[in-house]
Symmetry: C2
Subunit: 209 residues, 2 copies
């Protein structure tokens, strides 16, 4: 296997942490997004979408989404389970991950990519230029703030985002909280359960990656 990563990209951090939590060491190649390496013919031969993360499997398959990479690693290396084992757990984790991807990751990306000069004409990932829309930056900020406020409720009385074990739902929630930090947004001070959850997951060795 080989992992194509970018140290600063939240999308590939999702897979980096997952790999570490599985106890795997996979040869990793850094892709220099800042200098457009993802647009090069060499990288486009690996991933025509020009995005990270990419996981190259031993039979040469290129997985080009977090979901694809996670699912491969979970199926090939079941322990410890990060996507659930029983139907109920698997479903709850899938539900939470989808929700956090939409309300958290997409929202923060919407805010960042529509306001930063560095993302001019790159309001969406990929190879086709997409113009920034200032209203969307505002909308993304408001959505990200609402997401941060929702974490206490997602936790309820559970230790982790999808029950009593650490799962991929915690990985995506952690990455989103840190991503929101780039926008200077934080967990509400009075979100006591969310604060305590964050301290716990951020202290795991994988979170340093």
């Amino acid at each position: 296997m080989k992992f194509y990563d970018c140290a600063t990209a939240p999308s590939s951090r999702l897979v980096r942490i997952f790999i570490a939590e599985k106890g795997l060491e996979i040869p990793t190649q850094e892709v220099d997004l800042r200098h457009g390496e993802h647009l090069s013919p060499e990288f486009r031969a690996i991933n025509p979408y020009g995005t990270v993360p990419v996981l190259e499997t031993d039979d040469g398959q290129h997985l080009t989404s977090t979901q694809g990479c996670w699912r491969y690693l979970e199926a090939a290396f079941p322990e410890p389970p990060l996507l659930g084992t029983t139907p109920a757990d698997q479903a709850l984790i899938a539900d939470r991950v989808w929700r956090i991807d939409l309300d958290g990751v997409h929202a923060a990306a919407e805010a960042l990519r529509n306001r930063s000069r560095g993302f001019k004409d790159r309001a969406l990932t990929g190879l086709v230029p997409v113009a920034q829309i200032p209203e969307l930056a505002e909308r993304g900020l408001a959505r990200t703030q609402r997401f941060l406020e929702s974490i206490d409720g997602l936790l309820g009385d559970s230790e982790y985002i999808a029950g009593d074990s650490f799962t991929a739902a915690d990985i995506i929630a952690l990455v989103t909280v840190d991503f929101a930090g780039w926008l200077k947004l934080k967990l509400p001070e009075d979100a006591v359960r969310a604060q305590s959850w964050y301290e716990k997951v951020a202290a795991r060795p994988s979170a340093a990656l």
Copy 2:
């Protein structure tokens, strides 16, 4: 189990077709989105996000995303597999589904919800009003068109979207092509493989649902 559906919503059609392909019959309750039934206290007690689909499992869990519903049904009723069996198949299907959700479903929703009067202040699903952004309607149309043009390439030399069997990737691609039809967008005439794939999947009994 109980399934909360809405006959006109592409999101719940994704689950409706999946249920039919599994050969299951699940008691179904129609939710009248047009008249705001999803905003009622009764429905919000079932799904606080105010969206369909919702699958209520026999132990009372409410799954509120297509991903959650699909994963539950696949784990509880493995045959026929729609989310893959080998790690490589599971991963490819997850990759394709994520990609089509982003480039197809999200794009078409962006176009529709930002231009139709019926979606005024409902540019995103959920309970919080979100204003329409006309530029986003244009962007969504262009993205949906690009998605339709991409299907031939996704198929390559395969019979189906993720290889040689019908899977959930075909379900989401089919639903997206039909959703794009609401925007008067079609598969390109010269997309021969995509046209032939569409005829085949649209002829399945589940596609009539």
